[in-house]
Amino acid sequence: MTPDRGPTEQTHDISLTVNGVLRQARVPARRLLSDCLRHDLGLTGTHVGCEHGVCGACTVLVNGQPMRSCLLLAVSVDGSEITTVEGCTDPDGSLGPVQRAFMECHGLQCGFCTPGFITTIAAYLRRNPNPTPEQAREAIGGNLCRCTGYQNIVASVLRAAEIMREESGDAGVPAAGHGRGERA
């Protein structure tokens, strides 16, 4: 239920650093972060699957932490650093490790849930760069996918970890600094 509103809705100016770029928007207090990113800032890579925080398609990183942008008001993250799927590429704009892994492992079909998985996994691998298959499955346990049956997404998590290790040139040490998506 929306509250009773006056003839014109009060708006607020907010600033967000999105994928490393300072962005400003004038939004009503009730504007969801997901809608702000998609419709005010034109970053439509963040998808909305349920608008009640269950599916995870809208997951973005807020100051490095995966959060459901459909459950956040844009005004409540004023001043934050946001990373969306668009920001999970390597600095030169080529596919980031998680994105490459999804492509190599057929980790996506329709691609609608994929942005939420990619942001979630990017944040997860920063915390745990060497997951076991069981941990990889657990890591994606909060996101819904209707197409893949998750098997190839689990494989993508493991492959992304492998790519990050390959790129860091060190098999056992946590990879760091892989693109904006992995930057806190």
């Binding site: 439509t44 609608f112 942005p115």
Partner: protein, 826 residues
């Protein structure tokens, strides 16, 4: 290239957030929200919009009266019911909805008022201020209430019966009566739904200068939506373009059309002269899109001492919801595909398709097949148990044999064509499955588990799936003067990797690198003739059409090249985008080869040059005979071709699944330990994509068997209309799928392929019922099954209300009977 598991061409866009799904389009468009019925069955007394009119940002409010007024003022047909898409002589009492409810609503979620505003938030504010007064009527919810027919959904449709249909081959009742053994099973499957991650959505723009309407819609049938919009809005079809952008999953629900919104949004855009968009939210998807699966079934079989079927009677009560826009497709499929890989002896299939005051029922991946498979496979298990035979043995004895192909069941399939299996090797599939899951050694494992206090069970199920349903699909293939190849087909894609699969086919046929082939689907500007994406038909239909079109292009390229190189076309081949003389080593610029890009230039005689390539095709450059026309009488300019593939009938894929489950002795939690799939969809075009389709299908099968159901209360309220309450499986619920393939080519089409899209979901409910029955020692007859339900069944079993199975894995055979089975041995 065909048969290669190459990565998908679609992926770089989609993994970087560059996909363009419906709601990613139309920034700045006006936004729509709907007032939908809160009642399952009610008369609309009054709609009061007074309070809503002063909301800042409101643009328009429309009700049925506005549609009627528009029809009267112009030539639109919006006040008429939406089309009955697939009429059938046995659908004696069809009923479809109005785009906005007229006088009466028949399910919760039916659209009543359309609001257009500057943004969605405002549109919903307006909806909140609109007061609709209803006179609530008794709701018919569930099959029992529909059959009982104390109340009617539509007062002029007696017994709530939309259709009653019988198909029979031989005298099944007599065959059953004369059989040495008989069994009878009562079965039930509950409702579920496609539930794509992206809901539906429509975005329309009317160009008043050009008098052109462009509509983007998240659909599985763009060309048919175009025809429907043209008819409903009375716009010449030539002025209507419909485009399916990236579609975030469909699984059947998006093949229905036109949805009310698909005609209302374009209508509003034309009327307002503004861009208008509607994006379905999740609750709307639950209560106003479509569901499937809900059926009650009765099986009667007669069989001999070896377990061979002699006669089978299959009765189905099918819940089709409030309206019947998609006709009888689902129950027809259930009552024909029930036969699976078996010879049923005499067969009688009968169904009643019934109205209820719930969301409409239209195909969801599998489209009636999972229910049919459930019925037959439960029956096979029952026969095995009755005779004390291994479950695989009974199946083996009833299989259609490879040498009996093509096998004619003597029935009419969903496409109006004969139910004739084209090819298949079911014994080989079963051997592969037994080897993959370790069927023969399971008893030992089960015995050991039982000794440890664990309950495990194994189950299997077999299916045959009619795929590649006609009537046709087409494709256009063109080689550009850059050497790039563009391909278009009219059907749509919603995640199946069609752009990759079709590129592989065309690359193979033309001899070009796959990276040079770009495929467009579901855009009526590019290809206007198509049917749609359903029934696992794209690889078969558009795949073969693309192959045929590419072969035409190839033939033309060889002809033009043969003239340029002065070589017989039969001595030429195309390798890596270059036409060259067979057996002559590649040497760029030599008189033995010519790039396809140059052939494309030569195929189009020009007067004007706009670049160096084009200059080579101008009139003073090409020379040639001054007696012949530059374009021969039976020729056309351009290195391109269109072709169509139209099969005589469907091609039949097959597969068999097995699962090993563990049920918790205390909590009745059901855990999937292993899930094995053997699958035969003919020749594989991209094995990686096929495997992905199977994985996804199995996940939906797991959901349908163990978690997902639509919980309606007696008033017709859907109680679990959110992702919080409708339990779609997460990664933690879906097992790793072990797969093996058999490739039995279809003799019906040039590529020898069969469909693969739906396969994974079809046998899952049957497999789990089989495995849980094996673990528990009594038969499961109703799916889905939750731990609570299993717990209750155990209590009834312990109280002697449910008979035990005679044989279980790891148990010594004892006395027992299949649940509800009435044995009658003579």
């Amino acid at each position: 290239m065909i048969g290669e598991p190459i990565p998908r061409r679609e992926d770089p866009r989609l993994v970087t957030g560059q996909g363009r799904y419906l709601d990613d389009l139309g920034a700045g468009a006006l936004q729509v929200a709907f007032v939908r019925s809160p009642h399952a069955h009610a008369r609309i007394v009054d709609i009061d919009v007074t309070d809503a009119l002063d909301v800042d940002g409101l643009v328009a409010i429309y009700t049925y009266e506005d549609l009627a007024a528009a029809d009267e003022a112009g030539s639109s047909h919006l006040s008429e019911p939406l089309p009955l898409l697939i009429p059938h002589p046995d659908l004696t009492h069809p009923r479809t909805a109005y785009p906005l409810a007229r006088d009466e609503v028949n399910h919760v979620g039916e659209p009543v008022v359309m609001v257009v505003a500057t943004d969605r938030y405002v549109a919903e504010d307006v909806c909140d201020r609109i007061r609709v007064n209803y006179e609530v009527l008794p709701a018919v919810v569930g099959l029992d209430a529909a059959i009982e027919a104390t109340h009617l959904v539509h007062p002029d449709i007696p017994g709530n019966i939309g259709a009653h249909m019988v198909q029979e081959r031989g005298d099944a009742r007599a065959a059953i009566a004369a059989a040495p053994h008989r069994l009878e099973l009562d079965l039930e499957i509950e409702r579920s739904a496609s539930m794509p991650m992206e809901g539906r959505g429509v975005y329309a723009r009317w160009d008043a200068d050009d008098r052109t309407l462009r509509v983007y819609t998240s659909t599985q049938a763009a060309t048919s939506v175009r025809a429907a919009i043209a008819a409903k809005l009375a716009v010449p079809i030539d002025r209507v373009e419909v485009i399916a952008p990236d579609v975030g999953g469909g699984f059947g629900v998006k093949v229905v059309h036109p949805w009310p919104e698909e005609v209302l949004i374009p209508w509003a855009a034309m009327r307002l002269g503004r861009e208008v968009k509607w994006t379905e939210d999740r609750r709307e998807h639950f209560i106003s899109s479509a569901h499937e699966r809900g059926q009650k079934q009765k099986v009667r079989v007669g069989f001999d001492d070896d377990g061979r079927l002699l006669g089978m009677e299959f009765q189905v009560w099918h819940d089709h919801g409030a309206y019947t826009p998609y006709g009888l497709i689902v129950p027809i499929i259930t009552t024909t595909q029930v036969l699976g890989p078996y010879k049923p002896g005499a067969y009688r299939g009968e169904f009643w398709s019934l109205y209820t005051n719930t969301v409409i029922v239209t195909p969801y991946r599998g489209a009636g097949r999972p229910q049919g498979c459930f019925a037959m496979e439960r029956t096979m298990d029952a026969i095995a148990d009755y005779l004390g035979l291994d479950r695989t043995v009974v199946r083996e004895r009833n299989f259609i044999q490879p040498e009996e192909m093509p096998y004619d069941h003597g029935l009419v399939f969903q496409d109006g064509r004969g139910l004739v299996y084209d090819s298949g090797n079911y014994p080989a599939l079963l051997d592969k499955l037994k080897a993959l899951v370790g069927w023969d050694s399971f008893a030992e494992y089960a015995e050991q588990a039982r000794a440890e206090g664990r309950r495990v069970g194994i189950g299997l199920a077999c299916y045959v799936e009619g795929t590649g349903v006609g009537p046709y699909e087409g494709a256009h293939v063109r080689v550009e003067t850059t050497g790039e190849v563009v391909v278009a087909t009219g059907l749509t894609t919603q995640g199946q990797g069609h752009q990759t699969m079709l590129a592989q086919i065309v690359a193979d046929e033309l001899g070009v690198p796959v990276e040079r082939v770009t495929v467009t689907t579901g855009d009526t500007r590019r290809f206007k003739y198509a049917v749609g994406t359903f029934a696992s038909r794209t690889a078969v239909m558009s795949g073969n059409a693309a192959a045929l079109a590419a072969r035409k292009v190839r033939a033309k390229a060889l002809r033009i090249a043969s003239e340029a190189l002065e070589v017989d076309p039969s001595d030429l081949e195309i390798v890596d985008g270059v036409v060259r003389v067979r057996g002559v080593p590649s040497s760029p610029g030599a008189k033995t080869e010519i790039p396809l890009s140059t052939v494309a230039v030569l195929s189009n005689p020009l007067r004007y040059a706009f670049d160096a390539e084009a200059a080579r095709a101008t009139q003073f450059a090409v020379g040639g005979s001054s007696e012949e026309p530059p374009v021969a009488e039976d020729d056309e300019p351009g290195l391109e071709a269109v072709d169509y593939y139209s099969p005589p009938r469907s091609t039949f894929a097959a597969g068999m699944h097995a699962a090993i489950v563990e049920t918790d002795p205390e909590t009745a939690e059901i855990k999937v330990l292993r899930y094995c799939v053997v699958h035969d969809c003919g020749n594989l075009i991209n094995p990686r994509i096929v495997e992905g389709q199977i994985h996804g299908g199995v996940a939906q099968g797991v959901g349908g068997a163990l978690y997902e159901r639509m919980v309606y209360d007696s008033a017709g309220q859907l109680l679990n209309a959110s992702f919080m309450d409708f339990l779609m499986p997460y990664a933690s619920e879906v097992p790793t799928v072990e797969t093996d393939h058999l490739q039995t080519p279809s003799p019906l089409n040039p590529l020898g392929v069969k469909g693969a899209g739906e396969a994974g979901v079809i046998p899952a409910a049957a497999v789990f019922a089989s495995a849980i029955s094996d673990a528990e020692g009594f038969a499961i007859t109703r799916m889905p099954i939750s731990p609570s339900e299993l717990f209750e069944l155990r209590e009834r079993f312990a109280a002697g209300e449910i008979p035990p199975l005679r044989s279980r894995s790891g148990h010594i055979s004892g006395e027992g009977r299949f649940v509800r089975a009435k044995e009658d041995s003579r």
